[in-house]
């Protein structure tokens, strides 16, 4: 089991390493993908910045052209000088604007405004185009235009972003500034859409802590203002953020944010570029992102995997067989041999580990039962070979027809039970009465005539003890099981198996003669003949008891009768291969 355990540990270790590797392996790639996505957003942010810059220049160019228009210049000159009807000038400039830029919306323009040198609005087109006369000269971009600068700015007014470009309007002679013109460009959903189309990233515009436009679904960017607020210092110094992670529901995003220029920058006006975070490397994401193509033969190393798996299984099975199956099989065979009496005990030294322990336990159990005090337990469970004699050699051969007990099998390895330790009580003079057995006297036997029996088979012979010596008849006959034999002291002697046994006397003999009795007598004769033959053949008869022998004959007779549908079976003893054997002959009539 040691190697098997080590193997399983190695397999578990390898599985753990493989699992860890499977989970960790995507991490570097995930980081690289994240970095790559961050770099993509960096480039997108740079591109967006350039777009804004180019846009601003484009608007400045547009508004510069408007400022060079003669009609607008003359009208504003008149307005600045206070000559002419203000309403007429207003209409004139409006019409001129509409002539020059017929479709504001297609050009992304929200409004065009003309201002005189005092900062008063002379005319508007687009938003609030009916209003004029108000002064906006304090706005920096307007003030700059009136100083002669062409510039741009971003405003965040009324919760909306507006990109502005302003230019001075010069007099007809281009020697003085007579006013200014500015355009306001839409900075909202349309810009977001255009940026997304050009940059292939999601865009969100923020103003004063609110998302005012986004290419993603409403509500997804709710956490963005707070996230960017946390990086306000970074934005202030670097004019942008590094790629930062943001979680929206179950989706991880990467965000790069940068401020808008101009005074909107003071109003927390940012544009954020949003990219999708690469897939997580968790086990769920690992399976979720795998496709069936990944498991195709061409894309997956199935052969090495199968080789490794089967190799592991084969090695495991080999070790299992080596350390578990084989020893258990061997133990089982030894147990069978032990049960059949071929071996006295299991060679537990041949086994290691738990199987060895099991073998030792079995030996201990066998040892326990073989040293039990009763003879019944000694022979309990023994098969016919054990019954037929410890020296073996005799078998009980029952062929299909003309059945016979044939010998020839090797002697049972099972150690014969020790001879009954019972001995005749010592003479009365030196003997204190032995304790009386606690059992009740058995019923009288149903037969009367005892058959001759070799008492030595049970150890009662001359070499086995003094039981025969104590027999009043002086013969080696002993009573059948169940017969009670009074002792020399008028008491029945207990047999080793707990039953009362003793030497028959005339008073106890019952002589009913019928077929059953005749058969019993036949069996006893056979037993006697069998014992005699065994002795003649030099075989040991130790442990061979008449009760078991007779019981076995009865059982075999019953099975043969049932099998051959005969009336009875007659047994005979003969010598086969130098050993005593039994032969059964079915009697049909």
């Amino acid at each position: 089991m040691f190697l098997s355990k080590i193997w399983f540990m190695l397999i578990a270790l390898a599985a753990a390493v493989a699992g860890t590797f499977a989970l960790i392996a995507p991490r570097p790639f995930e980081r690289k993908l994240e970095a790559a996505e961050g770099q993509r957003l960096d480039r997108a942010q740079y591109a967006a910045e350039q777009m804004f810059k180019v846009d601003a220049h484009k608007w400045i160019d547009h508004v510069g052209k408007l400022g060079r228009d003669a009609i607008i210049a003359e009208s504003l000159d008149a307005a600045s000088r206070g000559s002419g009807e203000e309403r007429v000038i207003h209409r004139t400039i409006q019409d001129r604007f509409r002539t020059l830029i017929p479709d504001l919306a297609s050009g992304g323009i929200d409004t065009i405004v003309a201002i005189d040198t005092k900062g008063r609005v002379i005319a508007r087109v687009g938003e609030n185009e009916k209003e004029y006369g108000d002064n906006i000269g304090g706005a920096e971009i307007i003030g700059d235009a009136l100083r002669g600068w062409l510039s741009d700015d971003v405003w965040g007014v009324g919760g909306e972003l507006q990109r502005l470009a302003a230019a001075p309007v010069l007099s007809k002679n281009r020697d003085r500034i007579v006013g200014a013109v500015y355009v306001g460009a839409e900075t909202g959903p349309a810009l977001v859409e255009r940026l997304k189309k050009n940059l292939d990233v999601d865009i969100a515009l923020l103003l004063r802590g609110k998302v005012i436009a986004s290419s993603r679904a409403p509500g997804e960017m709710d956490a963005l203002p707070e996230l960017i607020t946390h990086h306000a210092k970074e934005i202030e110094t670097a004019k942008r953020t590094l790629p930062i992670k943001m979680t929206v529901g179950k989706e991880d995003l990467i965000v790069v944010a940068a401020p808008f220029p101009g005074q909107a920058g003071e109003q927390q006006a940012y544009y954020a570029l949003i990219g999708e975070h690469p897939a997580n490397s968790g086990i769920t994401a690992l399976f979720a992102n795998a496709t069936s193509d990944d498991l195709k033969w061409g894309n997956f190393h199935w052969l090495p995997l199968i080789t490794v798996v089967f190799g592991a299984i084969i090695i495991g099975l080999f070790l299992q067989r080596l350390e578990v199956d084989a020893p258990i099989g061997r133990l089982r065979r030894e147990l069978q041999r032990l049960a059949s009496g071929d071996i006295p005990k299991i060679q537990d030294r041949d086994y290691g580990g738990k199987v060895g322990g099991l073998a030792r336990d079995i030996n201990a159990a066998v040892e326990h039962y073989t040293h039990a005090p009763t003879q019944r337990s000694d022979i309990a469970g023994k098969d016919l070979n054990a019954i037929l004699g410890p020296s073996g050699g005799s078998t009980f051969d029952l062929p299909e027809a003309g059945s016979a007990f044939a010998g020839g099998t090797p002697p049972p390895a099972f150690a014969p039970p020790p001879p009954p330790s019972f001995s005749a009580p010592p003479p009365p003079s030196s003997f204190a009465a032995p304790p009386l057995p606690s059992f009740s006297p058995p019923p009288a036997p149903s037969f009367a005539e005892p058959q001759p029996f070799n008492a030595a088979a049970l150890g009662f012979g001359p070499s086995g003890g003094s039981a025969s010596a104590s027999s009043p008849s002086g013969s080696n006959d002993i009573s059948l099981p169940g017969a009670t034999k009074p002792s020399a002291w008028g008491q029945s002697l207990p047999s080793q198996n707990g039953e009362t046994s003793g030497v028959d006397n005339e008073a106890t003999r019952v002589v009913p003669y019928d077929a059953e009795e005749e058969e019993e007598a036949h069996f006893r004769n056979i037993f006697d003949d069998f014992i005699a033959k065994k002795r003649d053949c030099g075989e040991s008869t130790v442990g061979l008891t008449r009760d078991k022998f007779l019981q076995k004959l009865r059982e075999n007779k019953a099975s043969l009768v049932a099998k051959h549908n005969c009336r009875t079976v007659r047994f005979s003893v003969y010598v086969k291969d130098g050993k005593a054997a039994l032969k059964a002959t079915p009697i049909r009539e």
Partner: protein
């Protein structure tokens, strides 16, 4: 042994002591003019507070470089011996034409700033760095708002809707201050000889501070070089790296 002097000598001695005393202490009692130039960083020379991407000259008419946020620079001499705070007063600031006039107020503690919205747009005014002085409130067209400034220091009133509208309110404990002209020049007359702290305020914050001895200046012109925040941070980083 004490020498007896004649009466003429005695009379002369009587005049000599006050004369010597007056000659000894005369310089400290004299008033001087502290003048100089504040050299702003390039980025601060603009008339704009916030820049867009582009700022181009028109190519025909020379651009004007005066006005705008440049007029919001002031030099203040603090800790001048014998100086006293200006009296408290009410200063009215008009908000109109997307502008505030005046953009710079220098006054004494306890003064009240009255903000009148004469324009057509709503203003959201506050002092963001000291919100207890002036929390964010909307000022509708035609409306007026008052704010009292008790503490000495510089305060900035800002408009959340129009960030370029930035009103500097400087509460001083001295009468020795002077706005800076377009070229950065300043002049503070009648400054008593004393050690003093010269501070420069521009674009909503103190940008320079240095100790001067007004008595030793004479006709010397001070040159106050204002370092931009970026340059200051860069210098600090270099100093740290050198350490």
């Amino acid at each position: 042994m004490k020498t007896q002097r004649n009466p003429v000598t005695r009379v002369f001695s009587l005049f000599l002591v006050p004369l010597a005393t007056s000659l000894t202490f005369a310089p400290s009692a004299q008033a001087a003019t502290v003048r100089g130039v504040v050299k702003m960083p390039d980025a601060s020379r603009s008339t704009r507070l916030y820049q867009g991407y582009w700022r181009l000259e028109n190519g025909n008419v020379p651009v004007q470089t005066s006005g705008g946020v440049k007029v919001e620079t002031v030099v203040v001499l603090e800790n001048v011996k014998g100086a006293h705070a200006p009296s408290a007063r009410t200063v009215t600031i008009e908000l109109g034409s997307l502008d505030a006039r005046p953009r710079l107020v220098i006054t004494g503690p306890g003064s009240v700033v009255e903000l009148k919205n004469t324009g057509k747009v709503r203003h959201e005014l506050s002092t963001p760095e000291t919100p207890d002085v002036m929390p964010l409130e909307s000022l509708a067209p035609g409306g007026t708002r008052h704010a009292r400034f008790d503490k000495i220091g510089g305060f900035v009133i800002r408009d959340a809707e129009y960030p370029h509208i930035m009103i500097s309110v400087i509460i001083v404990g001295t009468t020795y201050f002077s706005p800076v002209d377009d070229k950065g020049g300043f002049s503070i007359p009648n400054v008593p000889d004393s050690s003093a702290t010269l501070k420069v305020w521009t674009r909503g914050k103190w940008v320079a501070e240095q100790q001067i001895e007004t008595g030793s200046l004479g006709k010397e012109e001070l040159t106050i070089k204002v370092v931009s925040q970026r340059d200051r941070e860069k210098a600090e980083q270099e100093a740290k790296a050198a350490e």
